[in-house]
Amino acid sequence: MSFLQTILNGEQGAFKSKSLTPMQKLTLRFVVVGLVYYGFAVIEGMIMRLYEVSPVPGIEPKQFFAIMTAHPLVGIFGSTYSIVFGAFLFLVPFLMKKPLWSIKLGNWTFLLLAFGTLIFWSAGFFSHYAPLYTLYWPLPADFTQFSPLGGAFFILGIALVMVGTLFFVVNIFKTIVYTPEGWEKQPACKLIGSALGVSGMRNLFSKNKKEHLVSLPVAAIARGTVDVALNAGIILFTGVLILVYMVAALMGHDLKHSAIDALLYKNWFWWGLDLVADGLVLIFVAGTWYLLATLITGKKLFMENFARAALLVELIVSWTVWSHHLMSDQAQPGILKVVSGEMVTAFELITQGLAFFITLVTLWSARPLKMTNPLKFLLGGLLGFALAVPAGIMQADLGLNRILHNTQWIIGPHVHVAILVGLTMTLYSAIYFLFPILTNGAKLYSQKLANFHFWAHLLGGIGMGAFMGMAGLKGMLRRSLYLNGEFNVYMILAALAGSLLLFAFLAFFYNIVMSVGLNGVIGIFRPAETKTKDLLPAEK
């Protein structure tokens, strides 16, 4: 095939968008939009990397901080939530062998995530809204630096994303418990009990061990979805709270600085944020590792009951771990710093360590394995968390936090290595695995590009995190600017590593577009020609 034919119709013309079911289209739309927003986040990241070396002409510091505010939210909600929600809306019915409860609601989730992200990103871009990082706005508010109107639009965008998120939550739990038409009545309570770990706990103390009604990956998705729901509630409430201040400012009234206790607010905010960072991310990732390990090997998961128990422990840990963000807040009670901040956080070393071990042993049990794209990216994801979790445990220590908090160490070796190497490579593994299933056998355009994608992403992610971390150990703060080149050696190296991440993404995106063709990409967004609720087309 000529280059033109391939870019239009995909590799060997194997991808036929007309053959896709509505569910396949829904999932692929989530993935495409998620990847586009990942591209946004990578470009924003590169701008910030360059800015940390030397201010980029035409970009004012307030624009830099607006990018910094939007960057993680575009990455988390626009990209990761889109890809994860799309994958799980497909996988839960796939694993439970029944249709999704509501494709319509799934489409609403997709639209709300896509447009909500666009709205808050635009609000940041045009109004330079940058109150603080990741919605983290310790009240009182300061409207001398930020436009309340821009902020109101920013909050509106986030609120739309959260409404879409709640739709996802409803769809997941309804899919687990509902009885499809023509089916025998499903035991809804028992199914939800199994998904949330109640029956598993009962098994621990009962002689009559009962079989689990839902598979381990579905249990992981359900438990992570509990944190998704709680977090959406917290963010919506917080958004409304901030909106009250904004509306008052727009009407010419400044609410009192001390109207809301700043420390109480910080506790509230971090409790909610950790439902994402230390909750659903870790639970979803562990569940995805287990699923991928069993799918790649065709073997049963090693120590499955322990894996289930660890997921439940992780859920409970995620509700009690927030204080490690407040170890430098001197008014925070010492008991919370030690128990929640240090001790409970250390449980994450245990739960993630178990997931790491169980996944590796399951893979080991099926030797020899072919080093496929899903396997190599899965190993990359495992390595990412093996690097990032201990870095997090170190900073969640009373002594070390005193000299690490708010430095580049936090955001480099911990946050970016966890997200870019750990989480994103796990997602790539799932995407490479699901690609032929979701596209009805489309052919990957280039394995060489896939190999480049792997190595450039792995080395770029680890390299960038490492150089940021080295700067952090030398005292470089996050969310700040050094205009005299104080840390340029590290920042130049981090920018070079960051550029590898950009090239990795470009190679991957090009590879996928060439695999399905531009007509195929457009076809994904056209209405499905079949009305079936089945996940995959009926075999002819």
């Binding site: 495992l382 220590d397 009373l398 000299i403 005292g475």
Partner: protein
């Protein structure tokens, strides 16, 4: 008291060693998992040993640091320790207001920094000439933010806000305003 740079050097060495070890392990695993092997069975005993190791590591790391990093117990018990010198500092409108132009500290003194904010949340950190950090804390409005620190080395330090408080916060630096003197005769 041990200098925070010493603690950071220890941390750097420990984490670098760990990174090299885990990367080597994953490289070895990736190679071996694609090859035929003698046995593919892993005994549960290895799993239980791993669980015990993780628990021991998770608990011991904080016990070890509490007993080796001197400012950890000082921080938790700072209200019971009598400070040799107290500096009351206020912050408002993105500006530190110091009790004197220069804060002079005698070597080995335990110094309490009481910092209060009149408006936003800020940070309070002490930095060396090479921009490395001595310590930091958050400065939350409506609360007393206090830190007790013992200085055992001569030096001149800058104060810098360590928390983002909008673009204006970038300029919150008070250069060379803290000086530790009188260490010449000490063993250090």
């Amino acid at each position: 008291m041990i200098d925070s740079n010493t603690v950071l050097t220890g941390q750097t060495l420990a984490y670098t060693f760990y990174v090299l070890a885990i990367m080597s392990l994953m490289g070895w695993f990736a190679f071996k998992v694609t090859r035929e092997g003698k046995s593919n069975v892993v005994k549960p005993a290895l799993f239980y040993s791993w669980v015990i190791f993780l628990i021991a590591l998770g608990v011991s790391i904080h016990i070890v640091t509490y007993n080796t990093i001197p400012w950890s117990p000082i921080d938790l018990n700072r209200r019971e320790i009598k400070a040799d010198r107290v500096f009351d500092i206020t912050v408002s409108d993105h500006k530190f207001h110091l009790p004197a132009e220069k804060l002079t500290i005698q070597c080995h003194e335990k110094v309490m920094f009481n910092v209060t904010s009149a408006d936003l949340t800020y940070g309070f950190g002490l930095f060396r000439h090479d921009n490395s950090m001595v310590f930091q804390m958050q400065v939350v409005p409506g609360h007393l933010n206090d830190i007790l620190w013992q200085f055992d080395k001569p030096g001149v330090y800058s104060i810098r806000s360590t928390e983002y408080s909008g673009p204006k916060g970038v300029d919150m630096i008070e250069k060379d305003v803290v000086e530790v003197v009188g260490c010449e005769t000490s063993a250090n």
